[in-house]
Amino acid sequence: MSKQLLTKVGMVVLLFVVVPAVLMAFDRGYFYQIATIAAVFVLLAASLHLVTGVAGLLHLGHAAFYGIGAYVAALLGSELEIGFTLGLPAAGLAAAFVAFLVALPTMRLISIYFAVATLAIGQMLYLIFLNWVSVTKGPNGVLLFSGIDFFGFDIESEIGIYYVVTAIMALSVVVLYRLTNSYYGNALRSLREDDQCAAAMGINVTVLKMQAFVISAFFAGLAGALWAYTTGYISPNDFNFSQSILVLAMVVVGGLGSLPGAVIGALLLILLPEVLRDVGDTRNIFVGLVMFGAILFLPKGLFGEVSALRFARRILGSGWSGSADNREVGWE
């Protein structure tokens, strides 16, 4: 119990004292920017984790819900002058609402059929962002001049924005953590493992899937609003299929089924391209290689539920000499 408390306090200190202090020491907007974007993607990955990591549903259109949030926040801000305080929840709710609508016909689907349905939904939403010019302004995107107004405070400074974004991210991640590390999480996991069997246990599979999907969309919507407010300009390409795949990669690289894994995955895939900037034009090859290495050597992810530790112990325990006979379970 006390160890848990310690972790909690540690996290808070890290996010709200250590990181800003370090950033302050460098006094670099660049680092704030990266930290802020990273926070947005941590939230995004954490929200996808609920659906893909815990409930085991391969979701290939998550970026679209992120996009809905961003569009709602940006359009409310630029067209109706409804600021951040209301725009943020509105963004989350709008994404959740759309998720609810599209979930009605699709939640019956299983495995890869579900995946392809979400791909279609994601692509359709993207096409709407891009082509419904009269509302979304189409390819012109939406410019959002207003800064973050947080309950009357106007937040302009980098550190201020960092604090707001991180605070919302942290709060959301705590909620997602509690959702997944609870009996509710177990119910979701049971869907991942065997949905028919879960149904026999009295679990309403369709409704549960729908809940997970909608909740996840809600947080993706929040992430979208945060993104809109940190950049001030959004356009459809920020929410295309590649972005969905990027978020999926975060969840998987970090370790499917574990929230810290998703967080680490998001940090890795946001920070890595930046860190590798000096490598030059080959940097994305390295991103691919690192991703590959991460999956190869930690096949259940950095923090996988079906734990990496067990895996490590196994390797160490049986002395991974590379010869077939030393591998207890081989496919050779």
Binding site: Y183, D194, A198, A199, M201, G202, I203, N204, I215
Partner: protein, 252 residues
């Protein structure tokens, strides 16, 4: 004795095959009923019809006086019926404890909201119930092992414990003793009788005659989808049709 479960002319076709053919029977409150029959007689299909996994082609299922024909499995479960599967279905990548908690959850409600704010009482209740079941089937030492790493027999108990965690009124067991040896079967028989004596109504399919004949109060026999006998074990054992179709010669 009031009937807890009533089946009325239940029929199911698969293509040209009639897997379950006009089966009418009932299970009374507190009864322990066995369902036997040759392989492919339609026993599992009958269980699937009762628990909502398969829709009947015709006929009706009534549970606690209420018609439940065609309801989806989770709703049937909510009304107080829980089952195990013939081909073992545990959640392999979850711990033994978590497996059982899903059963408790199904009964107590899933509760997204409570898991975030408050809900202490509920989660306490779930863990209490899960531990209780764990202890009952003697898996408490393996509570934190992955279910996939349990041996076959232990998984059987896990499945039963999970079903019990729902605190059902009717428990349906599909071949609970398969894969167990005599002494283990005896242990299981004891366990099932104990459950039954606590007031739980149980219906089970089993090929192990020592179990069925030993503990069931009544035995229903299916052959080729039809009910060919419905009687006490003693009577059924002597029924010529049953002997021909199922037991064949002397039984051990």
């Amino acid at each position: 004795m009031t009937a807890l479960l009533e089946l009325d002319g239940l029929t199911r076709h698969f293509g040209g095959l009639t897997a379950v053919d006009e089966v009418t029977t009932h299970v009374g409150q507190g009864e322990l009923v066995g369902l036997i029959g040759p392989n492919g007689a339609g026993k599992t299909t009958l269980f699937n019809l009762i628990s909502g996994f398969t829709r009947p082609s015709s006929g009706a299922v009534r549970f606690k006086g209420e018609e439940i024909t065609g309801l989806p499995p989770h709703q049937v479960a909510h009304r107080g019926m829980s089952r195990t599967f013939q081909n073992l279905r545990v959640f392999p990548n979850m711990t033994v404890f978590d497996n059982i908690s899903v059963g408790a959850l199904g009964a107590l409600g899933v509760g997204a909201f409570q898991s975030v704010i408050g809900g202490r009482k509920r989660s306490h209740e779930i863990s209490e119930r899960s531990w209780e079941m764990l202890e009952r089937v003697g898996l408490n030492e393996q509570a934190n092992d992955l279910a996939a790493n349990l041996s076959y027999g232990k998984r059987k108990y896990l499945e039963i414990a999970r079903a019990l965690a729902m605190e059902p009124d009717l428990l349906i067991l599909d071949e609970p003793a398969a894969g167990m040896n005599h002494s283990e079967t005896a242990e299981l028989s004891q366990f099932i009788t104990e459950l039954n004596s606590e007031g739980l109504t149980i219906m089970l399919v089993e090929h192990d005659m020592s179990l069925v004949m030993g503990i069931c109060e009544r035995v229903v026999v299916l052959a080729s989808g039809r009910k060919i006998a419905d009687d006490t074990p003693v009577e059924v054992r002597q029924n010529q049709a049953v002997l021909d179709a199922y037991l064949g010669g002397d039984d051990e």
